[in-house]
């Protein structure tokens, strides 16, 4: 796929929009489009507004309100009471820290390991390169779920149940991310690396000083994808952890389900706490993420 520079993209977009805004375009059409987009925006946002409003009202008011417009308003206002309860009941500080440790290490170490692997496949000469590349492509198809049962067994054998490492180590190296890095590195013009090589730089220096800065969009994309995936993991942690000590946030929801009177206010407060970090990260980095998807191999 052709590499488009940022400016060329901009010019292209301007042309595209001039084309779209040609005089024949009726304003009625435009209003219809707006109406549809606003309806869709409502569809995507109402559960989140509802979650936020519900987290700020007394537990017994959540369902009582939910068939009136008050469902979207924090009335009667209960302050942060639910948050206090949720934090106590689910031991949020502990669980939150667990999630940060687990996702942070998976993403951080994964970026290094997978990009190094992808770079070697894309640029370094060694015997068996083609076989290795084919192996990586084949490994992408193996779903983690198919590995979960034997991994659980192996983990139990070495006494790794209820530990951090069993939640981190299996997810660092990832064939899909390796492949994304590989395709991205292939799209970088080789001349810069050649120039550095002539200046006497070794592969490691070329990688850290020339390639990594150029590959920022790929790193951003893989980081966000990896974070979305690892922060939301549910199947694996619910299989390999029992106590709260090493459990991540998503599994913590279970605490509220086992206790008979359902405190919807607490539950909604907990889901707010679980959702907000990713929401903030996304809103701050959304431009980079969208560009990263556009420039990396994700789109095929």
């Amino acid at each position: 796929m052709a590499v488009t520079t940022a400016t060329a993209r901009k010019v292209e977009r301007r042309r595209r929009h001039e084309r779209a805004a040609r005089p024949g375009e009726s304003t009625t059409k435009r209003w219809i489009l707006y109406a549809i987009m606003i309806a869709l925006a409502a569809f995507f946002l109402f559960p989140l507004v509802y979650m936020l409003a519900s987290s700020l009202k007394p537990d017994n008011q959540v369902l009582a309100n939910s068939q009136s417009p008050e469902a979207f308003l924090p009335t009667p206002f209960a302050g942060l009471e639910n948050y206090g309860d949720a934090i106590d009941r689910a031991q949020v500080p502990r669980v939150f820290l667990n999630s940060v440790i687990i996702s942070g290490l998976i993403v951080g170490l994964g970026l290094i390991v997978n990009s190094l692997f992808g770079y070697a496949l894309a640029r370094l000469q060694f015997t068996g390169r083609n076989i290795l590349r084919a192996t990586i492509v084949a490994l992408i198809i193996i779903p983690f779920e198919a590995l979960a049962v034997p991994l659980l067994f192996m983990g139990a054998e070495v006494g790794w149940l209820d530990t951090y490492q069993i939640q981190i180590l299996p997810f660092i190296a990832n064939p899909l991310y390796i492949f994304l890095f590989y395709t991205f590195f292939l799209s970088i013009p080789v001349s810069l690396e050649e120039a550095a090589r002539i200046d006497g730089a070794g592969p490691l220096q070329i990688f850290t000083r020339v390639v990594m800065p150029l590959a920022k969009p790929a790193y951003a994309t893989v980081a966000i994808l990896g974070f979305l995936f690892s922060w939301g993991q549910f199947l694996w942690p619910s299989m390999v952890t029992r106590g709260i000590e090493v459990r991540p946030l998503p599994v913590g929801v279970g605490v509220f389900k086992t206790t008979p009177p359902v405190s919807w206010g607490d539950i909604m407060a907990y889901t707010v706490l679980m959702t907000v970090p990713l929401l903030v990260i996304f809103v701050v980095f959304q431009r980079q993420f969208v560009q990263g998807v556009a420039s990396s191999g994700v789109k095929g």
Binding site: E12, L124, F153, L169, P203, P250
Partner: protein
């Protein structure tokens, strides 16, 4: 591969290239080792183990020695109606979600690709649910789908009270609720991928089509769709694989995982129930292997019918 330099004498070039290959190979090992070791330990070995366990009577904790049982686990699963129920649930979920979600994502991408004010805002809003982890999304929607919940409130208003099912306790509607949550949470991601592809279609092609008198629909049909073909194939393949893996929603949303009456039990729910719930590692592994083969076959079929074109 290499950039042509001012040609030095032949022999020197050769020597330099050989030494370069040697140093490359040395560094290649350095670069590859961490990833290779981790993939070997956590993908290849467990996968081989899954195949081995599937022909034994391995249990998670058991005083009895492990015994080779041949294809008994497979035979047992293929003769078990619960296994087929799970597979059927997977297929009816994927058969609906894959085309609908992909079409919806394409519609969203086309909308936010228009020259309208606030398109970045709309793009952000459409993507937002992707950042809501599934455990949270499922929990919010359980409340929304409560028999006295917001969804029914709206439906009663529209249908004048004639339609308000108890979604998650209904053998008909529980799967529908899961479909809604899955699309709500996942469609934004496909939208971003398709949007990136839409923006890569050269404007010249639209201009040429317009000169030839093609209307909006014809332009979409003959310029846009072929232009984003590869991205569409990618999205279809990934959505299919993810749909087959359905686990979180049927575990979290109904009162009991896979319920009511196994109408949302999927292959993954079934596998975890066998391997973890009933500690029958051997039988769970057999399901895992069958599941892998099905996903593999589906991927190959899709690739075959939707062959990527290099210069679409």
């Amino acid at each position: 591969m290499t950039v042509a330099e001012a040609a030095p004498p032949k022999r020197r070039v050769r020597r330099r290239r050989i030494s370069r290959l040697k140093s490359d190979a040395r560094f290649a090992w350095l670069f590859l080792t961490p990833g290779a070791v981790l993939l070997l330990l956590f993908v290849i070995v467990p996968f081989a183990a899954a195949i081995w366990f599937s022909v034994t009577n391995q249990r998670l904790i058991s005083p009895l020695p492990t015994r080779f049982v041949g294809l008994d686990n497979y035979r047992e699963q293929l003769g078990d109606s619960l296994f087929w129920t799970s597979m059927w649930n997977n297929f009816r979920f994927a058969g609906f979600v894959v085309p609908v979600q992909t079409g919806f994502a394409l519609a969203l991408a086309v909308m936010v690709d228009q020259n309208v004010r606030g398109r970045v805002l709309f793009r952000t809003i459409f993507f937002t649910p992707v950042t809501v982890v599934m455990a949270a999304a499922a929990t919010i929607w359980v409340l929304l789908f409560n028999v006295n919940g917001l969804v029914n409130g709206l439906l009663e208003l529209i249908t004048l009270g004639s339609f308000s099912p108890d979604w998650l306790n209904s053998t008909t509607w529980a799967m529908v609720a899961i479909v809604v949550v899955s699309i709500w949470q996942g469609v934004g991601f496909q939208m971003v991928i398709l949007l990136a592809a839409l923006q890569d279609v050269p404007v010249e092609r639209y201009e040429a089509a317009a000169i030839d008198g093609a209307g909006t629909w014809q332009q979409f049909r003959h310029v846009t769709l072929p232009g984003i073909r590869n991205a569409l194939v990618f999205v279809l393949t990934v959505t299919t694989i993810l749909a087959m893996r359905l686990f979180d929603q049927p575990t979290l949303m109904p009162r009991s995982p896979g319920g009511p009456l196994d109408t949302t039990r999927t292959a993954m729910v079934h596998m975890v129930d066998l391997g973890f719930g009933r500690q029958a590692i051997g039988r769970g592994s057999a399901v895992a292997v069958i599941f892998f083969l099905i996903v593999l076959v589906l991927t190959v079929i899709q690739r075959f019918f939707l062959r990527e074109e290099i210069n679409a």
